[in-house]
């Protein structure tokens, strides 16, 4: 075998090894989480953990219901705020804004997507928390410290904006010009064209963008940790403090890691995060594939 062929062979194998290593890590993490969360499941059924409402590790009570509810509320409200606003601004930037403005806005939004979340958390802590406490909660007739689910959801929405906007702009821009022309040339207005053609043609990628936004929102830790209040109780309103799965791990790992069963409980929380993100990603691929088959152009 000559040198060139040998180099070719080594290169190929190196790439294979790198790929195997990465995939193996993924499985190792999964297996680690699975085994380490076993301990807490010996004395408590999974059902109890998921649905009982008291989280009090000192009393060996590991009810995750309040935390799961907190996570669903924060993620749900964040997406509820983020999706319509992101879509509207993405459409504006992609289809309506003059190209000079577009050229400034696009990199700006990409930069926003890259800002570390602790920066958002700090801004939320300094400005959004007092605003919620003094203005927004009283406006709804509720007393709040400002450290609450609502504040966390809003800052999460702000963090999700640039991701969804950026991906949506990309998919709107990918719609062929001729497709828009086809719609305009039968006498459709610009809005009709955007709504019925551009939007439809990019449905699969918009769904993908939203799922990615969900992933970010669901797993976001530090910014939420700074403003949610960190109290694992079932919230009485969105202005009550709460806790999310990711934020729980961040705030408790220091104090809980010394006792095996507590550690195991946190590992279970991590496993839940892992599995949910996995399921949503698989779901995303599945939806995307179905939608693509239907809406190719």
């Amino acid at each position: 075998m000559n040198k060139r062929k040998l180099r070719d062979l080594i290169g190929t194998k190196l790439m294979l090894i790198a790929t195997l290593f990465v995939s193996l890590l993924f499985f190792l993490i999964f297996v680690l989480l699975l085994f380490r969360s076993g301990l807490v499941l010996q004395d408590n059924s999974l059902f109890d953990i998921l649905f009982s409402s008291t989280w009090n590790p000192d009393n060996s009570q590991f009810g995750l219901a309040p935390i799961i509810i907190g996570t669903i509320l924060v993620t749900g409200i964040a997406l509820l705020i983020a999706i319509p606003i992101s879509l509207l601004s993405a459409i504006y930037i992609a289809e309506y804004a003059p190209w000079k403005i577009r050229r400034i806005l696009r990199p700006f939004i990409d930069v926003l997507a890259g800002v570390p979340s602790v920066v958002y958390g700090l801004c939320a802590f300094l400005f959004l928390v007092p605003l919620t406490k003094d203005v927004i909660a009283p406006w709804f007739g509720v007393q709040s410290t400002g450290l609450c689910i609502f504040t966390a959801a809003v800052i999460l929405a702000v963090m999700v904006f640039p991701i969804i906007i950026s991906l949506c702009i990309e998919s709107f821009n990918a719609v062929p010009l001729a497709l828009k022309e086809a719609s305009l040339s039968v006498g459709a207005t610009k809005w009709e064209t955007v709504k019925k053609v551009v939007f439809r043609a990019s449905t699969p990628s918009v769904i993908a963008a939203i799922l990615l936004g969900f992933g970010r929102a669901f797993g976001e830790t530090i910014a939420i940790n700074m403003v949610i209040g960190g109290i694992p109780r079932i919230p009485s309103s969105v202005f009550s403090p709460g806790e999310t799965l990711a934020s729980l791990i961040a705030s408790k790992y220091g104090e809980l890691m010394s006792i095996p069963v507590h550690e195991s409980a946190l590992m279970l929380v991590a496993l839940i995060l892992f599995v949910v993100v996995l399921v949503f990603n698989i779901l995303g691929v599945f939806i995307l594939r179905r939608a693509k088959r239907r809406w190719t152009y």
Binding site: A178, L179, K180, S185, V186, G187, A188, A201, Y297
Partner: protein, 256 residues
Amino acid sequence: MLSSTIQIETKNLNVYFDKHYVLKDVNIKIPAKQLTAIIGPSGCGKTTLLKSFNRLLEIHDEVKISGNIFVDGQDIFDSKGDEIPDIRKKMGLISQKPYPLPMSIYENVAYGLKIHRKKTKKGELDAAIQHYLQEVGLWNEVKDRLHDPASRLSVGQQQRLCLARAIAVEPEVILCDEPTSALDPIAAQQIEKLLLKLKQNYTVVLVTHTLRQAKRLADYVIFLYFGMVIEQGPAEDVFNNPKNPATIAYIKGDIS
């Protein structure tokens, strides 16, 4: 010039793309209910000219247009922004590659009808869709799968579907931008036959870079070269008695 009435007329039409001077003082007359071919080498501004007729050029920010375009004697640049869809509705557009909308075969033809709120009753709409699909010779091929995505059709079928979509809003003019360039010979022939049939009821403007296609189909020919109209007139005159040296060279095949 010709005995028939003028459908489209341009006066000193100039088009710039950014700093690129694309159309230079174009003055043409396109006769109604005939097939006019715009010929010329690629990059000479044929498509730009075609898309100026229904103000489709203006969706690009960097385009600058001066001069006049009269459609049925009315200057289309007189109309305000919200009237532009009405101008466009008068002219169907067929593009180089067929672009069915991302919806079913049925919805593609229904698209324009629904936008203009015509044939709103279900039975009427169904009948209209059957009619236009028959017009383009597609009905028998698709009648059992009207609600399949249009993207499942073959390219040739897609192009005929696009034609059906265009004529469904009853335009006066059909603008075709090299409509057969993406098609196999048989599908191309079907489209050519359709265009010959359609010119009885519509004014057809055909951009083509194949000279033979122009010779087969055109009643009237406009020869564009580097953004300028070099020669225009009835097809037999231009093809048999070209006057300008550039036209002669193009028709002989010396430039392409």
